[in-house]
Amino acid sequence: MKQSKRIAKYILPVVIVLLVALMAVVPFFTDPYKVVFLRTILMFVILTLSWSLFSGTTGYTSLATAAFYGAGLYTTAYLGEKLPLPLMVVCGGITAFALALLMGAITLRLKGIYFAIFTLSSVELIKQVLHWYEINIVGVRGHYVTRVNDVTVYYVLLVITVLLVLTIYLIKRSRYGLALNSIGSCEEAAAHIGINVVGLKILAYAISSFFIGMAGAIMATGMLYIDSYVAFDLNYSFFPTLMAIFGGLGNILGPLVGAAVFTYLREILITKYSYHYMLIFGTVMVLTILYLPSGLIGLAQNIWKKLTTPAPTKGLKTEGGKHADTSC
């Protein structure tokens, strides 16, 4: 029993290293289409993991992912020709980081649905203001972007993903990770314990946005032309949230698997059933929320539990959901 646990401890890191190694050599063996497809998956993995780094732990549903992603895209649109590629990517991250600090400082005193709505409308606000600025002040709408080849974009995204997973892992193991969870569990008690709740929320929000911004900065090089309507598309807010729920909130694996499977499904549906894809998609999401409240990972865990526990006795359920009140 103990030994199996010790082995299990090593399985995950080994699997991750193998997976990253596999991802690193894939472009040498596959056709360009698959690289572009994997690139999209990686992009959504980054967005979803970043989203869940903040929203999954603290319980504050942010719908401003598109704003940070767009900030990254626009950074490249304006600075792309002047800066070397790595610097440009970091700049995109910094722009998003700064934007998140600002938005967090304004909004993270709001709670629940008010926060979600403010973040949602902030995307629209930035989009419209930028649009107005380009039309009336600059006189030119949008911006052309110098293209970078898909394989480079793919590798940059892979590096960002690895850094992001590492960051999440380190935060989770530190007291700040526990503190973020405690904010999600009971913010009032967290404040009483001496956690600077507002400060910590803002910082976590900014860190998660940094990665979203970097993803945006590099993805911009895959487009030819960017304007505010392309950059600040609300789908980039909705998809990561849905993907995280689809995969299962609460750990690193859920959003990761969620984003990968979700993107794959979407791609297949778009190419094969382009007329009905939204309909099928919506149905899948509704079914997920109804029947898989812990997402794909939760489902996998349940099956694993059933396989490994010999004779399940009644009343030995470990989830305490129905026990007493769950509010703090």
Partner: protein, 238 residues
């Protein structure tokens, strides 16, 4: 005279236009158990929130061990050695017992010594050690109370503020909770307690204040108050 721990002077607190506390003054000396009695809506929790930094007072000041802590944010006030146990415990329901406790030593200096504190708390409440991997929401009422108290101890506080310890507990558990409180005092914690349950809290307290409509209307040793007509009529139903 023992060392003065907490001193509240002429504290006024308002929510918007509605003033809740009027010129509240009180003090607590080291090693004392002081109880603040008052009915619903008297302003007891508001007073605690003003002391612990969750609400900014309009005027007056709060000092702790001689240092002015008025208007400091809660995270800085905790650093001075104050622990606050809110009404109903306010645990982190989705975190394990041990994680709940560890969060009690969140502040940097305490975080380094959290292993020692954990051992200490498990010694005081062995039951928590048995349940350390369970989620807090699966605990019984009495165990939750233990966990809430244990979490307070994790920050190695000099003084503990307890809001309605008897809230939502069965009579037998109320008795146990008060007994626990007494043993915490014996371990060196100074205690300020807010209660509606006048009878039992006065039994363990050294001194008491009575808050009515936002003003302190009576104070004295616990014994004096137990026998005062006002308390007997209003709070003990005698």
């Amino acid at each position: 005279m023992k060392l003065l721990m907490l001193e509240v002077k002429d504290l006024n607190v308002a929510y918007g236009n509605v003033q809740v506390l009027w010129d509240v003054s009180l003090n607590v000396a080291e090693g004392e158990i002081v109880v603040l009695l008052g009915a619903n809506g008297a302003g007891k929790t508001t007073l605690l929130n003003a002391i612990t930094g969750l609400v900014r007072p309009l005027g007056g000041n709060v000092s702790f061990l001689g240092r002015d802590i008025t208007g400091l944010p809660p995270n800085e006030i905790v650093e001075h050695g104050i622990a606050y146990l809110p009404e109903g415990g306010r645990l982190f329901p989705d975190m394990s017992v041990q994680e709940n406790l560890e969060m009690g030593s969140y502040l940097k200096n305490n975080w380094k010594i959290r292993k020692n504190r954990l051992e200490y708390v498990y010694n005081v409440f062995p039951r928590l050690k048995e349940r350390r991997k369970q989620l807090a929401k699966t605990l019984s009422g009495g165990e939750r109370q233990m966990l809430a108290m244990g979490r307070c101890l994790m920050s190695n506080p000099k003084m503990g503020f307890f809001d309605e310890l008897s809230y939502g507990l069965a009579p037998k558990l109320v008795k146990e909770a008060f007994a626990m409180l007494k043993s915490l005092r014996d371990l060196g914690l100074t205690i300020f307690l807010i209660e509606q349950n006048a009878n039992q809290s006065l039994e363990i307290a050294d001194r008491a204040y009575v808050l009515e409509n936002g003003r302190i209307v009576n104070s004295g040793t616990a014994n004096e108050l137990l026998h005062s007509d006002h308390i007997r009529k209003a709070y003990l139903g005698l």
